[in-house]
Symmetry: C2
Subunit: 147 residues, 2 copies
């Protein structure tokens, strides 16, 4: 039943849906972020797309984020990392409840959706809209290498 979410075809649909033109730079951004378990940092995207103007990349990332195609998460160094939103993410657009795991070794940011987070209490008066649990430590890969 599930539609593939990482094919070139799907990317074109995505752009269509959001009334964005299917240009080479945009499709390239999407393909760079596809099939990755981790979010991609803006500097990484820049070097991966060295044929695309830096300014263009800024603008693409901005529209994509506004439209809810990708989401942004800041790693431990305050650098923006981007990942394609899952369908789950899009449905509950403003109620993202997922876990961002930032490895202190490789600095990768893993977006772990589909995780059921337990309820928690806030001091009275705070109206929660959305939350993400932000964890640091070693990712599976780096954890292995340590042994």
């Amino acid at each position: 039943m599930k539609q593939p979410t990482n094919t070139p075809n799907h990317f074109e649909h995505l752009l269509d849906q959001h009334h964005l033109k299917k240009t080479a730079p945009r499709l390239k951004v999407l393909s760079m972020m596809a099939d990755k378990e981790t979010a991609t940092s803006q500097p990484d995207l820049e070097s991966l797309m060295n044929d695309v103007d830096r300014v263009t990349l800024y603008r693409i990332l901005n529209v994509f984020e506004e439209k809810g195609i990708i989401h942004k998460v800041f790693d431990l160094n305050g650098t923006a990392n981007y990942a394609i939103c899952t369908s789950n993410c899009q449905e509950h657009r403003h109620h993202d409840e997922h876990l961002h795991f930032n490895c202190t070794q490789c600095n990768n940011v893993y977006c772990l959706n589909d995780l059921n987070l337990p309820a928690f209490d806030l001091p009275p008066g705070f109206k929660v809209n959305g939350f993400t649990l932000y964890a640091t430590g070693l990712c599976p890969d780096c954890s292995k290498k340590q042994n």
Copy 2:
């Protein structure tokens, strides 16, 4: 039993403990951040301390963070916000487990320590070192103003 943690006296002790000279700019940074429920953004600190050189502020915030006197948290816009670490925070330096609440209205970042967060599960292989629950929504003040 508890020592005051927000007096000028305490600040001098803090600097002593970390072998830092008690200079006017440093004490001022600490006093600006004291007695606040919320973390202070770097831009705010800059305007609050307009008599101190911008570069000096950068350097002070960096040493303070290295020494574990303050901690840094990025708000929704990726701007660094700083708050004095609580005693709790210092003891468990690398195991901060607190909640950062970023109000979408006033943009304040509340550091809610002393919150017991429930356990949660991670996919196998991830070695968690520390985590913070990062929530967005309306803080008590803005929540009131909405009614």
